[in-house]
Every structure is written in C-alpha cells, then in structure tokens.
Symmetry: C2
Subunit: 253 residues, 2 copies
C-alpha cells in the first residue's frame, strides 16, 4: 500500500478523504483488536521524565483520552505514562506525577508521544538509555509524536531521518544546526509525515493531537472531542499542518 | 478605592489602561511582599480532588507558573496544589498526582483556582468540608478563578453571589437553573467581575489565566508568557471577556 509522496502541504481533510478512498486509513468507531493493545485498544504511551512540561504532556494526553468518551462503541485509546525507572517525577512547572510504568514494565506502544522536557535539547540527548528506549519503541510504533523540544529526542534517536519535521519556533535554527541532515519545516503548527507527527508545542500541542484523532477515528469524533475541550474543529486554514503523505502502516486503526 | 460599576463588556486592555490610570492596578515587575507569600510571592493555590480535569488544572497552572520566568526580577508567583487530605489523587483522565498540601496544611492563598472535576456538578457540591474550605479560602483570597464546572463549586460556596459569572457552555442552563439568583453570562470565554474570574474551561482555560497575568504583571509579561506557550496575546476580539469592574482589593500586586 504505497502512495506517491506529496511534497505540497494540502488540506488535512482533503488528504484524509484521499487516504480513505485509497483504503490507507480506516475510521472505526473503536480501535480494532490487534496484537498489542490489551483489550484491542490503541496503546498511547507518553514519555515522562523529570522536567517534562505540563502542557506538552497534558494537551495530547487529554485529546487522546477524551476520544474514548466520543466513540460510538466505547473505549478505543489506552493512555499511559512511562518514566525511565517508574518512580515519581516532577514536571518543569513543579507538579508531582506518579508514572504508570517504567521502561522495563511498559506495555507495547502503538502511539509514542514525546513531550518536551527541560533537558530535551541538552542533557537528555546524552542519556543513552533514554535515547535507546525512544528509538526502540519509536521504531515499532505506528505513530511517533513530539511536542516542542521533544523533536530533539526523536532526531537524536534517528526517528526523524528521512522525514520532514518541526519543533518549537524559537529553536528552529538550533534544531536545524544540530541535525543538519533533517528536513525541518518552519511556521506550521505541526508536520505530519507518514508515521511522524511533530508539533511546535505549547498550547498548539492540542492541534496535532486533534488531527491524529481525526485521522484515526474520523472527523465526527474529532468534532465531538473538540466540543468537550472547547477546541474548534476542523482547524482554521492558518493552523493546518504541513502534511506529507508517505507509505503508512496498514495496522487497522 | 471604588470605581463605578460598569455593566457593559469592554476591551480588556482599555479597561486595564483605565484601572492603571485610576491607580487601581499596579504592574510591578515582581509581586511585592505582603503578609501572605512566604517570600513575597503571589500565592496561587489550585484545588485538586479525585476526578479533576487535566486541562482545567494545567492551563492556568502553567500560565501562572511561567510568569515567573518572564518577570524582570525573578520569581513572583508560587503555584501549588491542595487536596482535601493531601494524598495522591487521580485525575479524570487517569494521571496520578501528588498534591503539595492538604486543607489542613495549605499556606495562605492569594489566588484560589478551582478547576472542574468529575463531581463538580453533583457529589462534590454535597461535600460539606470541601464547600466550606472553598468558601473560607475564597473569601480571603484576592482573586478566585474557576474553570468549566468549577463555577458550580464557587456558586455552592456563595462566592459568586453578587457577581457575574460563566461556566462550561453545555451546562449554562443547568447552572442558571441550579443557582437562579446568579447573573450568568453566556458565550464569552470568561467573565471577570472584581475578585471573581470564571472561565468556560477546556482549552480556553489558558485565556483567563493569560488575562490575569496581564492584569497582575502587565501586558509585556503576558506577551512573553504567550510567546513561550504559543498563545497569541492580546486576544482576538471574539475571545475577549465580559469584564465588569468592581471595587478591588488594594493589595499591591
């Protein structure tokens, strides 16, 4: 199931329609069973480390979790947090979070979400175990999503090689300088390229997650999620992503 | 320091300018010492109970906490969470949070923030200890802010008597029916009436907090906070609040 690569940003819903027609995306009312989700749920794992930023964690977490309450036939997304050792972490803003899993105990992950953390641009990149775990889990995931500086960690793990991506606007130059081989996109809320979704972050972190809900479960579900979170959907033209179609996984979500 | 009551919504920045000229608002680079803040900080206490909604907690938490990094002379807002017994709580979306304080140990609170929780419209209103604590702390606070259904708890505690307010759009009718003596405003992101700030909630919870940062620390600081969180500031006209000027506290923030 291969599609020609489009390099021109286009309307996300137009693309969605194309993918639907091409049979590349299914929009079930509920995630279908596969080998990974315990109850056939889409397994959405959020990396949390000390210094993780609240908004970049919570925005996609809430959008994906709320999807469960707007699907016709019940739960479809299992959201959970994973920290390196499973112990309590303190967010950048000072909240104390107890993760659900450690690297060792985390279940299979279909969507790996990497929010920014205070160390995402420096010390976290030198943490071999962290980078290795992100690489291993990211390579096996259907989608990998970064928010803000989370893109640095994806890049360090090689997960953005061959994909277009973006990051926090004030760090475009630093990102492009650190990873000069990457195709970095500027001035878009987020970039979708095949199995990679990279967002500018901040309060815009909601948009990329809304888009993923739309992609996975259809526009009607995304509109319902938006009505609960007071996020207008579909987005205004200026908030539309740079979307690059690539061969996609055929896993049935 | 009393101002005539305005009942007509107006441009928030125009009002801010008026208040500045009238000497009702100071915009220090840093919160000045007073009797409550341990180090002269503005003490921003967030109520967290089981079933609290992530976004309604995190959005104002992040905006207020980030203000510290954009004030010319260092920290100015101390953000902290308070739960009834100080034990770990689980949010509506399933995150496990360790609160900073219990009702018994919480420090003085200058800004009391009440996010929505799963029980905000029903069982939480029948929890006498909870309502009493909100009333007691709210009556002594300079500002009380609710997000989404948090307005129900404020109303139950009598903190909205004599003030205009709003809540989650799908619950306008229920709110007005439950508290028929209140002046409920519809179709605005939030309402500011003297020491009360009530927001529709959801992703719009950022806006009321941005507005408070602007009110407390000035537009320049709010713009800086917005640049970090990717929130355009000042807001678009459609996002402007219904603002009602009332006699305000003269405490020097």
């Amino acid at each position: 199931m291969t599609m020609a690569t489009l390099r021109t940003p286009c309307h996300p819903l137009a693309l969605l329609a194309c993918l639907l027609v091409a049979g590349c995306v299914s929009t079930p009312g509920r995630a279908k069973p596969d080998e990974s989700g315990a109850a056939g749920n889409l397994m959405a794992g959020f990396l949390v480390v000390d210094g993780v930023y609240n908004t970049e964690l919570m925005a996609p977490y809430d959008v994906l979790e709320h999807a469960n309450h707007h699907l016709p036939t019940g739960r479809g997304v299992e959201v959970f947090t994973v920290s390196p050792d499973g112990n309590e972490i303190v967010t950048a803003e000072g909240l104390r979070l107890v993760p659900d899993y450690s690297f060792a105990t985390a279940p299979p992950i279909d969507v790996l979400i990497v929010p920014s953390a205070r160390g995402s641009r420096e010390e976290d990149l030198r943490d071999g175990d962290l980078v290795d775990w992100v690489r291993a889990r990211g390579e096996r995931a259907q989608y990998v999503m970064s928010l803000c500086w989370g893109a640095f960690l994806l890049a360090e793990a090689g997960l953005l090689d061959g994909y277009a991506s973006t990051t926090f606007p004030a760090d475009y130059a630093r990102f492009a300088r650190t990873y000069p081989h990457l195709d970095v996109r500027f001035n878009v809320s987020f970039v979708h390229d095949g199995g990679r979704l990279t967002s500018q972050g901040g309060a815009r972190s909601y948009e990329v997650a809304m888009y993923l809900v739309d992609l996975l479960f259809g526009e009607e579900t995304a509109i319902s999620v938006g009505s609960g979170l007071l996020i207008p959907w579909p987005p205004e033209p200026k908030d539309r992503p740079a979307i690059l179609s690539r061969p996609r996984s055929t896993r049935p979500y």
